[in-house]
Amino acid sequence: MAIIVVEVMLKPEILDPQGQAVASALPRLGFTFANSVRQGKRFEIEVAGDPTAEQIAEVEKAAHTLLSNPVIENFVVKVEK
C-alpha cells in the first residue's frame, strides 16, 4: 500500500488572508520566527501496491481538473510509502 500525496498551494501572487491571519497570531503566542505564512491543502490518496507511472499521471490529471484550480493554485504530486 502506498499513499499518493497531492499538495495544493495558492500561487505566490494570490493574496492568502488565512496565511496572514496565522502569521499575525504566531507572535501573540511568543513564536517570533515567521516572516510570513502561506496556507495550503494536502490530499492523501491511498492506492494498492506501488503506484504505477500511469496511476501517477492519472492523479496529476485529477489534481489539475478537480483538486486544484489552476487559475489561482499550483500543486505537486509525490508518493509516500
Binding site: 494570490i14 493574496l15 488572508p17 488565512q18 491571519a21 478537480l66 483538486l67 489561482i72
Partner: protein, 223 residues
Amino acid sequence: MRIGVVTFPGSLDDRSALRAIELAGGVAVPLFHGTNDLKEVQAVILPGGFSYGDYLRCGAISRFSPIMESIILAAEHGFPVLGICNGFQILCESHLLPGALTRNADLHFICADQKVSIESTNTPWTRGYTKGQEIVIPIKNGEGSFQCSDETLKELEDEGRVVLRYVGKNPNGSRNLIAGISNKRGNVVGVMPHPEQAIENLTGPSEDGLMFFSSILKEMVSK
C-alpha cells in the same frame, strides 16, 4: 418565457431567484443538479448558497454535476446564463468565466447592502439599465474577492466585460473593485451581489435588482 433556476445540494437563494423571475413576469422553472434536463428553458440562473458545503473550493464540485454539462455546452452556443454569488463561483470553476473568487481580504463573511455601478449594458441580463447607473443590492459571502492574472484583468477592462463594480470602499479585496463580469459574447454573466434579494421594498433594500430579470425577459420576447 421560461427561465430555469438550478437547485444544487446546499443552494440557498434558488427560491428567491424563482420568485424574482415570476415578479418580473416570466415563467420560473425549477431545475435539478442531478439530471441534464434543461426542460426547454430559454435562460438559466445558478443561484447563491453553499453548494456541496463549499467543500474543496466554492463551486468546484457543483461544476461537475450533470446539469452543468448541459449548461456549459449550451452557454458555449450563446445560451444566456446568470450566476449569482455561488453561481458566479461555479461559472469560474467551469471556465465559462475567467478568474476565481477567493477568501475576502479581511476574512469576514460580509452581509450588507452594497452600492454597485452598472459598467456594461451589453449583456442580456443588464440591457435594461443605463451605463454608469448606481444601484443598491445586498452582498452576502465569505469568498467574494475576485482575482485573476494581470493579462485577464486587462482583457476584461479593454473588452468592456466588467459588468458590475463596487462603489466606494472595496468590500473584499476584489481586483479593480470588480463585482461582476461577462464572457466575450456577453451571454454568460457572473455577479457576486444578489439582485434577486432586491426586487421589492418590503423584503430588500431597494427594487434595483429586478431589472436583471426584466432585461432577460424583454430580450427573450424581442427574439
